[in-house]
């Protein structure tokens, strides 16, 4: 294991990445897909409204991009902090 301070900094950076990712995860599904749907009903997308599309298709695309972006960011962090495999 790397020394204590370095691994603490790594963990703090990791938590920051997770927090940002979780906010995006929440907004695209629970936010746009459920809670904000009535407010956004004016924006139409192919015969339905934006919230409907996020609930049935859009949120899944966001999840996909999110996981790969997270994996890439973490690989970079691993190297910066010298804790890669």
């Amino acid at each position: 294991m790397a020394d204590k301070t370095s691994s603490n900094a790594y963990w703090a950076a990791n938590i920051r990445v997770i927090t940002i990712s979780m906010v995006i995860w929440f907004v695209c599904s629970f936010g746009l897909g459920i809670i904000l749907r009535p407010a956004l009903s004016g924006i139409s997308i192919g015969g339905a409204d934006l919230g409907f599309w996020f609930a049935q298709n859009g949120s899944i695309y966001v999840f996909l991009v999110l996981i790969f972006a997270y994996a890439a960011k973490m690989n970079k962090l691993d190297k910066e902090h010298g804790v890669q495999e």
């Binding site: 339905a48 899944i60 996981i67 994996a71 804790v83």
Partner: protein
């Protein structure tokens, strides 16, 4: 070649493929049996995870649930995919770094307690066994329909197939078989969807077809979803895109499915099979890519099949209003070879029509609640009269029938229960004549409804079996490793040899298959209810304990055990209150209706509440007990950094 022979050839070929792979990849050591020697490439693991994850419910039932539930049932789409974000971010990399074989093993080591490990074993067994029953039932139903055997025979054939490759292959055999099963199931799901999307919307991609134009319409900017909403609302159903009746409950159900997904042991152990921590992260992404191929298509499959089945019964709806032309006639059903599927499915009881008013036409529409109640009251009164013993008071029963008839006539004459702006009585209707449209029809009969060739139908049969078998195999592995590795090696007989443990792993898997088959012989309704329990419990027990184990250094063994027990008990009790104690019919304390639900929370939505209680109790109890010892603190620090993960072994 007739359809039956074609089904037999395609399904038989797919099984031969699975057996071949299982023989080639059979397991020789416990490491191969439990975790495929941690040598599975991340993309391939993603594909295996997708097959492991997408069950009979995803393949057969989900599109139908969305077709009839519309927007409100988007919970399945978001819930069963969003869970992978939680897995990738919060669990998979750290558990891979931990580098052992089972979920209870992590709980036991992190919470330095065999008791904690055993509580985790109990949670795992309850979750996985309830889940595997549904898969076995799915296998039985699919065999029964496509290979013309009884459901029981179908179930037994399915068990024999799983037995053959799972018991010998272990994780290694299962993994590579699942890769093949994924390929079969995704082809089977998307090919009909591509054809149907092209027919209905002119768009080859179903994802674009869903939000695309409606091809048969003469006006270019007429959207497919507008057409669907127009047709179903005309017939008295709620619009497909209609808003949810209870946003709070929808929120909770989605959350329950998400954290339940992330807490399912058979999914988590798939991430133990990749070589590196960084592979665990990307593998979750690849799993979601392969899952999304089906999940983004599912709403298109459901909504398009629904429009197709509705316009089959109301040909006028293809161009204009449903009432522009008369409804489909019984004569047409009996004589038109393109509609022979209606009679075929009528035999299975999944699609039932009945010309109630004797006009030779089948009018399909949604009965208003008042009318449906009046129809049911009359049927009940008739039944009571027919079944009355010889010495019963016939006059009173006959009076009841007359009274129910009068009530029904009033309901039929009431314009509030009408259709097309007129009362049903004016139009000579007595009720909806397409009395049963089972959800599963939307996928199973989809190729026939869209008039696709016979080999597509055979492919759907093979795909449905692949989906059910791959999930069953993954669950059986989770069950057997919990018994042989955690219960026998971890607690009862720690000095067992590797060879002995491998033998026990195979024995416990064989036992699990027999148990699952036996439970699967029960009425299928049982399986549908217990899925809510599996997700709720995974969300309320496994997910919180793993998350606290990784992200908190302060949670103690007492806290973890108390938390898991609280999650387990509150969630199962809440579900049992509405669905009956241990699902025995009639033992529920409250009716399972939205009005009776506590704060509007349905049993399927309780998972996040159970998880919150688990977290709260664990933190409170941990605060009152002695902090975890130094070696556990070191363990936590070590799983938080990727460096030093066990090297990959040659495969």
């Amino acid at each position: 070649m007739d359809q039956f022979t074609l089904n037999l050839i395609v399904v038989g070929a797919s099984f031969a493929l699975y057996f071949g792979i299982a023989f080639w990849a059979r397991a020789g050591s416990t490491s191969e049996f439990y975790a495929a020697s941690q040598g599975v490439p991340p993309v391939m693991n993603g594909m295996a995870t997708a097959a492991d994850w997408m069950s009979a419910a995803s393949f057969i039932s989900m599109a139908g649930l969305i077709a009839f539930g519309g927007y409100n049932n988007s919970v399945f789409l978001m819930g069963w995919t969003g869970g992978y974000v939680l897995l990738a971010l919060l669990l998979a990399p750290y558990l891979r770094k931990f580098g052992k074989f089972t979920v209870p093993e992590f709980v036991g080591d992190r919470f330095y307690s065999t008791s904690a490990r055993m509580v985790a074993v109990i949670c795992l067994l309850v979750i996985s066994i309830t889940y595997v029953i549904g898969q076995m039932v799915g296998v039985g139903v699919t065999f029964a329909r496509f290979l013309e055997v009884s459901t029981t025979t179908g179930l037994l054939i399915g068990s024999a197939v799983v037995f053959a490759y799972a018991v010998f292959g272990g994780m290694k055999g299962i993994t590579y078989t699942q890769v093949a099963q994924y390929v079969v199931l995704i082809i089977a799901y998307t090919i009909p969807a591509l054809f149907i999307s092209l027919q209905l919307t002119g768009n080859f991609l179903p994802q674009l077809g869903l939000i695309g134009g409606y091809a048969p319409s003469s006006t270019p900017d007429d959207f497919f979803l507008h057409k669907l909403d127009q047709v179903v609302t005309e017939l008295g159903f709620a619009a497909y895109t209609a808003d949810t009746p209870n946003m709070f409950n929808m929120f909770l159900v989605t959350m329950s499915l998400m954290i339940g997904t992330a807490g399912l042991p058979h999914v988590i152990i798939r991430f133990f099979t990749v070589p590196k921590v960084s592979d665990a992260r990307s593998s979750a992404g690849w799993a979601l890519v392969f899952i999304a191929l089906l999940y983004t298509v599912a709403p298109a499959v459901g909504s398009m099949a629904r429009l197709n089945i509705t316009t089959t019964f109301w040909p006028g709806a293809i161009e204009g209003s449903a009432f522009d032309k008369p409804a489909l006639s019984v004569e047409e059903i009996n004589t038109n070879p393109e509609l022979s599927w209606i009679l075929n499915w009528q035999k299975t009881g999944l699609l039932v029509f009945e010309d109630k008013n004797g006009d030779g036409l089948i009018q399909y529409f949604n009965e208003k609640p008042a009318l449906a109640a009046a129809n049911k009251a009359l049927a009940d009164a008739n039944k009571a009269l027919a079944e009355a013993p010889a010495d019963a008071d016939k006059a009173a029963l006959e009076a009841k029938v007359t009274e129910a008839k009068a009530a029904l006539d009033a309901a039929l004459a009431d314009p509030a229960n009408g259709l097309n702006g007129k009362s049903l009585a004016e139009q000579g209707l007595v009720g909806n004549e397409l009395t049963t449209v089972n959800n599963d029809i939307m996928v199973l009969a989809n190729p026939e409804i869209a008039k696709l060739p016979g080999w597509v139908i055979a492919l759907v049969a093979a795909g449905a079996l692949a989906a059910a078998l791959s999930t069953a195999a993954g669950l059986l592995l989770a069950i057997s490793s919990a018994i042989s590795h955690d219960l026998i090696k971890g607690a009862l007989k720690p000095d067992i040899s590797e060879k002995g443990e491998l033998l026990w792993a195979r024995i416990s898997m064989a036992f699990a298959i027999v148990l699952a088959t036996w439970l699967g012989l029960d009425p299928p309704g049982f399986a549908a209810q217990v899925v809510a329990l599996a997700f709720g419990l995974a969300a309320a027990t496994i997910f919180p304990v793993l998350m606290m184990g990784i992200f908190s250094t302060r949670v103690t063994k007492e806290g973890a055990i108390a938390g898991m027990l609280v999650g387990l008990i509150t969630t199962s009790v809440y579900i049992f209150l509405y669905l009956g104690w241990f699902f025995v019919p009639g033992t529920n304390m409250f009716p399972n209706t939205p009005d009776a639900h506590f704060l509007g929370i349905s049993p399927a939505a309780f998972g996040p509440i159970g998880a919150l209680l688990n977290f709260a109790v664990a933190y409170i109890v941990s605060g009152m007990t002695k902090a975890p010892p130094q070696d556990v603190q070191d363990l936590i620090q070590s799983i938080r950094v990727p460096k030093g993960a066990g090297a990959a072994q040659a495969h």
